[in-house]
Amino acid sequence: TQLLEQSPQFLSIQEGENLTVYCNSSSVFSSLQWYRQEPGEGPVLLVTVVTGGEVKKLKRLTFQFGDARKDSSLHITAAQPGDTGLYLCAGEAPYNFNKFYFGSGTKLNVKP
């Protein structure tokens, strides 16, 4: 059983569409990170959110940390084929340095 549940598992959309990926848990995390992973490579960090209710924007990507620090969302505006990849959320356990629990990921395919 995954500590972090991501939804949807798969998403196939057309270029220009908007999408939201969700990361939910019943546990509280001291921070939450979002990564993107390409085939054959390690995950690459996109953002870290630390404060409940925090919203961070990275160009067309908007990340939100839930008020209770148990869930997060990633919203992509006007998706592009270059956004294709596996999106992973990872929660950092409280009082455990850099011990992260990953969700199973959302595989995004953006068609031109």
């Binding site: 001291s30 921070s31 054959g40 490579e41 990872a90 340095f97 850099n98 990953f102």
Partner: protein, 113 residues
């Protein structure tokens, strides 16, 4: 500035064998974490090394062991390999305390036949 490097890239072993995977952290980093990523899953935390000692451990059996050297590089050893150990093994490095950014290497793809 080299990022996190891992070797080998790919490895094929048979059941019951032992394997050693290696990781060199990003320059300036002193903490190394190892993750196992099965096909279609997110990475699962195996353990973390800091100052040459295991600081954290996930829910993995004792067949999984590790080591960190004075230069901060690290090894992951797996004994008595099982088919279920087939996965991508990722190393991540960071510096010091809570919330610091982890940088992942490209991983070692282990196949157990």
């Amino acid at each position: 500035d080299a990022g996190v490097t891992q070797s080998p890239t790919h490895l094929i072993k048979t059941r019951g064998q032992q394997v050693t995977l290696r990781c060199s952290p990003k320059s300036g980093h002193d903490t190394v974490s190892w993750y196992q990523q099965a096909l279609g899953q997110g990475p699962q935390f195996i353990f973390q090394y800091y100052e040459e000692e295991e600081r954290q451990r996930g829910n993995f059996p004792d067949r999984f062991s590790g080591h960190q050297f004075p230069n901060y590089s690290s090894e992951l050893n797996v004994n008595a390999l099982l088919l279920g150990d087939s996965a991508l093994y990722l190393c991540a490095s960071s510096f010091g305390g809570q919330g610091d950014t982890q940088y992942f290497g490209p991983g070692t793809r282990l196949t157990v036949l």
